[in-house]
């Protein structure tokens, strides 16, 4: 049988399948490992150790962090998997939670489909019922985790380096460079957010990566401004002058000396920005510019459930599941972001 993920030749089928499985799993595992290492290593520096200590005492922060970790682990488990006997790549979440396909809507824990003239018996129990084409809603909601995490994470991976690079360079060199960077972000900032996003997406087309790129390009301005202003403050500090006197180059001063001092703001802004990105996905799905049909996302579920409340009987479970999943994640990020801000920089306490 021919495997779709085959990388080597026929004779080595077994080997190639294993190899491609390894390759597919290396990336998510690597990302999780990197995040964990970063958190542990940061805990050794005095600033972050102090912040951790304050966070640990904050009950709301601990609970939100647990919630975020839960979502992240669902997303990670959905990215790790291996090929089936028939060659289809299936993630751990698929293996555990995928339910047999039904014919039509069914309520949570129901035995029969609902809304059909002649209800059918269901093949399995569904915790949150099924949707119009008989897919398990709970399973779809779990699949949405990965999409949301990728949208948030990838976008921040695109926008944060962009914002930091231009912000620091503009603040450090000033003059012409500063003018140019300011001009670029003023132009981008003058276009109403949603219109800029829509035009980018119409041009780039639909899909997860396109969405991340468009969101990344539209969302770097805020952080760029902040880091520019902050770099202006640091530019003439004594430690920078000392580094210069010791013969450090511009690049070294900017990215080894000034950058670490901007990290607290970066972390706070990205944490608070994450929730906004997750929310934007739903709005774009409503505008039919989301991740597209092929990828399961909460935005698609909410958009699909738009007219279901008007049905008789009311189909509420799809909308409920997707919006609750999104609400809890966004709430956790908002609360955690606030707690983080208070912990890192008590001056900013509101």
């Amino acid at each position: 049988m021919l495997s779709p993920t085959r990388v080597c030749d026929w004779n080595n089928m077994q080997f190639s399948a294993t190899f491609s499985n390894l390759l597919n799993n290396a990336l998510p595992c690597g990302i999780v490992a990197l995040v964990l290492i970063a958190i542990v290593r940061a805990g050794r520096t005095p600033l972050w150790a102090e912040a951790y200590r304050r966070l640990r005492r904050n009950r709301v922060a601990v609970i939100s962090l647990i919630v975020i970790a839960l979502y992240a682990s669902v997303a990670a488990l959905d990215s790790v998997g291996w090929t089936n006997a028939d060659g289809a790549w299936t993630s751990v979440i698929d293996r555990v939670f995928q339910k047999p396909q039904e014919r039509y809507y069914s309520a949570p824990f129901a035995f029969m489909t609902v809304g059909e003239p002649k209800p059918h018996r269901l093949n399995a129990r569904h915790i949150l019922g099924t949707d119009a084409i008989g897919n398990d809603v709970f399973y779809q909601t779990l699949k949405g985790c990965r999409t949301a995490m990728i949208i948030g994470g990838m976008t921040l991976l695109i926008s944060t380096p962009l914002a930091l690079f231009f912000g620091i360079v503009a603040g450090y060199f000033g003059k012409r460079v500063d003018d140019a960077v300011q001009y670029v972000y003023t132009v981008l900032n003058s276009i109403p957010d949603i219109l800029l996003l829509v035009s980018m997406l119409l041009v780039l087309g639909q899909g997860l990566w396109q969405l991340c790129v468009a969101l990344g390009i539209t969302s770097w301005v805020g952080l760029c401004r902040l880091s520019r202003a902050e770099t202006l403050k640091h530019r003439d500090r004594e430690y920078v002058r000392a580094a210069r006197a010791l013969g450090a180059g511009h690049g070294r001063i900017m990215f080894r000396h000034i950058l670490p001092n901007l990290l607290p703001i970066v972390i706070i802004t990205t944490t608070l920005g994450f929730s906004g990105l997750v929310m934007t996905e739903a709005i774009l799905s409503y505008l039919q510019l989301g991740v597209g049909e092929g990828t399961g996302s909460w935005g698609n579920m909410i958009d699909g459930a738009r007219l279901e409340l008007a049905r008789e009987p009311i189909i509420w479970w799809s909308l409920f599941a997707a919006s609750t999943a999104m609400f809890v994640l966004v709430l956790a990020f908002n609360l955690f972001g606030d707690a983080l801000r208070d912990a890192i920089d008590p001056r900013l306490r509101s």
Partner: protein, 313 residues
């Protein structure tokens, strides 16, 4: 003041050039005109002649430099031309849509402003108490609900369950209020979290100022202090954050209008997105930028009026 406004307009020119360059890059250099023609022609399999005809009609068959000149000229003279999808003049549709958009938008804006200011004063009055704590927490809750969910849920609860308002639609005249009711509630609720939090911070910053202490020492009551002394000074940062968005009310709410079938500019933009009508979207991007810049200028002017310490020179 006049000199300031003129300078501001001159500052706006490079920004507008940048925006139109960006839209040109996006819509002329990245998109294949053939694909656009195929999408917009009603025939399933258009002949090459039909495609050529469409391209010619909408000016997409000219050389780049020619297109660029036309694009810049049209935008700066605000001659937006015809829609790619329906062929209607864009200005005609704008003229029809601006009325409902502005009415709905400004009603939501005013309702939100009033609620936000009075709530934040209330919360600031009870600062440090459980009421303050829970209000802040509730604010975060409201902030975390998606706008699309607000719309679906709001329509269902208010119009379907309670039957307080029609499901969707619009009529001009005083009956419009009936249709604006649900969008207004949703608009207020959706923004309440972040805005009240911001206003509260602003008000609390003012509360620790010397003049407040002086007022209290004179024996002015706490309510009087809040509403007469603090609010006036807190109005300055509040102004800066709200005035900018006033001109943008003309463009209407993309989500609200399309969801509640209000025939405004927002609905028009929504339709343009659905039919990939690049001519309309280009026009909206440019108009949006102009309105945003007008908003910034208005903010500065209102700032100078509200705060005698600020001089615009």
């Amino acid at each position: 003041m006049l000199r300031y406004v003129i300078r501001r307009i001159l500052y706006a020119v490079p920004i507008l050039i940048g925006v139109s360059l960006l839209t040109f890059l996006l819509f002329y250099c990245t998109v294949s005109p053939e694909g656009m023609a195929r999408r917009n022609l009603s025939a399933k399999n258009p002949t090459p002649q039909q495609i050529q005809g469409w391209l010619h009609e909408h000016g997409y068959d000219k050389p780049r430099s020619e297109q660029f000149k036309k694009h810049m000229r049209e935008l700066f003279l605000l001659r937006f031309g015809n829609s790619d999808a329906s062929g209607e003049p864009i200005w005609d549709r704008l003229r029809v849509g601006i009325g409902p958009s502005f009415l709905v938008g400004s009603l939501i804006f005013l309702a939100a402003l009033l609620t936000d200011i009075s709530l934040s004063l209330y919360v600031a009055y009870y600062r440090g108490t459980y009421l303050d704590y829970w209000a802040t927490f509730l604010g975060v809750l409201f902030m975390s609900i998606n706008y699309v969910v607000y719309m679906i849920g709001g329509q269902w609860i208010v119009s379907k369950l309670l039957r307080l308002a029609p499901l969707a639609g619009y009529e001009s005249g005083p009956t419009a209020l009936k249709f604006v009711f649900v969008p207004m509630i949703i608009g207020v609720l959706a923004g309440i979290g972040s805005t009240v939090r911001f206003y509260r911070t602003v008000i609390l910053e003012e509360i620790n100022q010397d003049y407040v202490r002086t007022a209290r020492a004179k024996g002015v009551g706490e309510q009087q202090v809040l509403f007469r002394h603090v609010l006036k000074n807190a109005a300055i940062p509040i102004l800066t954050s709200t005035v900018t968005s006033i001109p943008l009310l003309l463009l209407g709410g993309l989500l609200t209008e399309s969801f509640f079938n209000i025939p405004g500019v927002g609905s028009m933009t929504f339709d343009a997105i659905q039919s990939q009508d690049f001519a309309v979207i280009r026009a909206m991007v440019f108009l949006g930028t102009i309105l945003y810049i007008i908003g910034l200028t208005l903010t500065d002017i209102s700032y100078a009026i509200a705060d005698p310490r600020v001089r615009l020179e």
